[in-house]
Symmetry: C3
Subunit: 346 residues, 3 copies
């Protein structure tokens, strides 16, 4: 089992779930259908009709039930068959129900044992959006032909911006010291660089283009691929509160071992009411992610084929420390789950 199961995966933005139709997506190798029940809450179920194995996401919602439009079987969000036009409603017609939670406009789904699905375990990588107006942040998503691990490596090394997104980097983050705190189930990377030239993308927020700043980056990694990076700068020697901050959530939800749903959001502290600045941010992020990160990371997967990066015995540097530790933690968590023989269905 290459996937972590007892975890909340970011499935899709709430805005991307049609009002009146189900929506299917493969997550961590499981085919899952998302839909809105009669009271408007989101449900997540196995995307397979127990009768003839059609996808329920090809079906519809009828009278508040997820309905297979092939033969009319209907299911509640709890997975219980509620309608069977062809015979008795029996337990053998029930389908799996996944714990699901909408938080920060993201639909999170738990793919492991339902009794372990504690909402408090949802990573708070989107919390920054709660206090920002809609003009203060952007949301987006894309799809990539590469492992979620390769993308997590990317963000656990913020200094890659100095090379791949030079307008974002100042050279500070590829040289500054890394501090790593490893938790039982997460990892945090802190980087700080005092008195350095200011990245092009931030320099307009300060009075002079030549200003030297103290710069930071904090990365939160979670084993479901949900990550948050806070980056910012303040005039040298001044408190952070006098500088600027940006947050970007990068969420890499595994579809398969070599394909990834990439969901992201990004906000900032300094021009939160400026819709046109925000639109520029949307376009800039899309460019950085889709035109720069994606081709690079997909080229890694193309060279690796089905192998994991670590199997290829790559050369490793200090900048890789955080990603190597995150990979080891991920492997330990998956191994622990498999050792427990977690049941796949609730």
């Amino acid at each position: 089992m290459p996937f972590l199961k007892n975890t909340w995966y970011a499935a899709l933005w709430l805005q991307d779930l049609p009002e009146d139709k189900p929506f299917g997506r493969v997550i961590a190798g499981e085919s899952i259908v998302f839909w809105r029940t009669v009271d408007g809450t989101v449900a997540a179920n196995e995307d397979v009709c127990p009768h003839r194995r059609a996808k329920l996401s090809v079906g519809g919602v009828r009278d508040g039930k997820l309905t297979c439009l092939y033969h009319g079987l209907g299911f509640g969000g709890d997975g219980k068959c509620a309608v069977n036009p062809h015979g008795p409603v029996v337990d053998s017609l029930n389908i799996r129900s996944y714990p699901v939670e909408v938080q920060d406009d993201m639909i999170w789904v738990w793919t492991g044992a339902a009794e372990l699905a504690d909402v408090a375990l949802i990573p708070q990588v989107l919390a920054f959006t709660r206090t920002l107006p809609e003009t203060g942040f952007v949301r987006g998503s894309t799809y990539a032909k590469a492992s979620h691990k390769l993308f997590e490596d990317n963000i656990l090394d913020p200094g890659h911006a100095d090379f791949l997104h030079p307008y974002l980097g100042s050279g500070a983050l590829s040289r500054s010291k890394r501090m790593i705190e490893e938790g039982e189930n997460s990892l945090k990377l802190n980087m700080f660089q005092a008195n350095w030239r200011t990245p092009a993308v931030m320099v307009g927020e300060f009075p002079s283009p030549d200003i030297m700043t103290d710069q930071w980056a904090e990365v939160d990694w979670n084993p479901n691929g949900a990550m948050l990076i806070r980056t910012g700068a303040t005039p040298t020697g001044r408190p952070e509160s006098e500088g600027i901050d940006t947050w970007t959530a990068h969420i890499f939800t595994a579809e398969t071992e070599t394909t990834t749903h990439y969901l992201y959001a990004s906000g900032q502290t300094y021009k939160t009411d400026d819709a046109s600045f925000n639109e520029g941010m949307r376009q800039g992020l899309r460019y950085a992610f889709e035109a720069e990160d994606l081709p690079m990371v997909e080229s890694q997967q193309a060279n690796l084929g089905d192998r994991d990066l670590m199997e290829s015995r790559p050369a490793l540097f200090a900048i890789d420390t955080a990603s190597v530790r995150a990979r080891r933690l991920f492997d330990r968590l998956v191994a622990a789950e498999n050792a427990e023989k977690v049941p796949e269905s609730a």
Copy 2:
């Protein structure tokens, strides 16, 4: 061997065979080339040149011979090499010839032992077209990424229209009693519902939209995927002859185990001279088949992967009885052929 070989497969409509060029199609896993001989009859041969294995369907017809345009070898419809510009014409250059018959504008090809190819065995699912004018029926074809078996299930359960094509169904056929007659080599399903509301698609043919009708459906299944469904309605208690009848041939010719050539024709008794009604029928059928049936059935295959539906141990209802029996009959026929070790080439 997952395919039945000693059977006539519907290959393509005669109209779809170019006048002056060969046409290649894979049928039941075999690469077959169809072409017109000098006297206009249709021939079917192995689509592989014995010399360097080029497809003869990439070639042409020259001087009445199927000709490989790579090096000029020519073959008669009997598969005998007739032209070899590079040496003697010898038996080792012969290619396989398939028994082929044009009936009801359909090209039927026999993929088994040639000595068993009795034209009387061609299923008569298109016979209804013989007595109708060209404005009384339509022909069509499409292609699907799903097993022929999943499509046959679909038609052996006419009541699926109540859910998937609600304008075609009245609710009668998903609840009416099924009578199944199983032959040695075929299966017939009869359904009848007395005194029921009339399906939307038929109601305009009766004097009042509220009229109650007796309704029927008869399905003929053959193990080559050739099926015929007759559906109709008559005012309650009146003889069938006072009502209306429609026939639809659904022919599911296996390309591979998970892909299907879908050939169809549909006619009716009541507006046989109305070309615009007929054109509406063509568009309606295309919508029902391509926009409703295909995505649903292909979603079954997507969920099943390479597995057969029955391997997935689906929940089964009374509506599945006919399809389960047809599948068992198919499996017995294939097993019997394999037990006899039928030679693959004539």
Copy 3:
């Protein structure tokens, strides 16, 4: 190992290498990046960064070094790591360097042991372009889903033009005697036909359309897929120098076992200053290669699947003698290399 390694492969036309960006291509199963060093010479390296396995062809050239734009590692054309922003420059960061040579505007790369890479071993199939003005010949390239061997068969049998490109053939070459000279590492085929009708494509170069000519074809085959065919005609009994000659280099560089980079050039002796004639030649060649040869040869591969042609035990004629001998020579050369356990990296 299905590929010959100790050989020069034609990789791409020099004109197709961007001035300021690297270009990646898989050749004989190896991922190789081509780029221009600071002095303008072409370098060829492994297209895999030793750090995290990104493709260097997705990167760039910075300060004269092939540079991974993911994290800034830079390499010289010799494969030596020259820049590492993240630690010491050590030998373990070196990448493979392939011997590379530009000759006749073609970039040739040696995939075997570097110490054996003698430039004198580059096949001289493009030498004819050296003495022709730019209006006297054309260059081109395409890509095909078929083995290089099937394409080499095609050219080693020039008489196929009589069937597949009838405007090029007169019937002479599929009937004339073949003389084959086999070298240790190459094969030459000579064909001659006295006093025969002139091919349509050449006839305009002679005073009368009815003129009978002596015609020849000479084919040079090399085991890297580089081939040259010289064809021509002269009035019957007159010396070659009074006739016309055309040369076409067909270079079939294996990408994988079943896909091929097809690079070609073609020139002639008789209208070398006529740009519009040359443009017609370009269009004619593209038609012959892409509309006639490619579909035919790809249909062979489609019928063969992953099998080699010879495994399918095809019928063989005298016209196949040269290709059968070339295939045997190729197999012997590959077997000899594998017996020597040639190291894969220099």
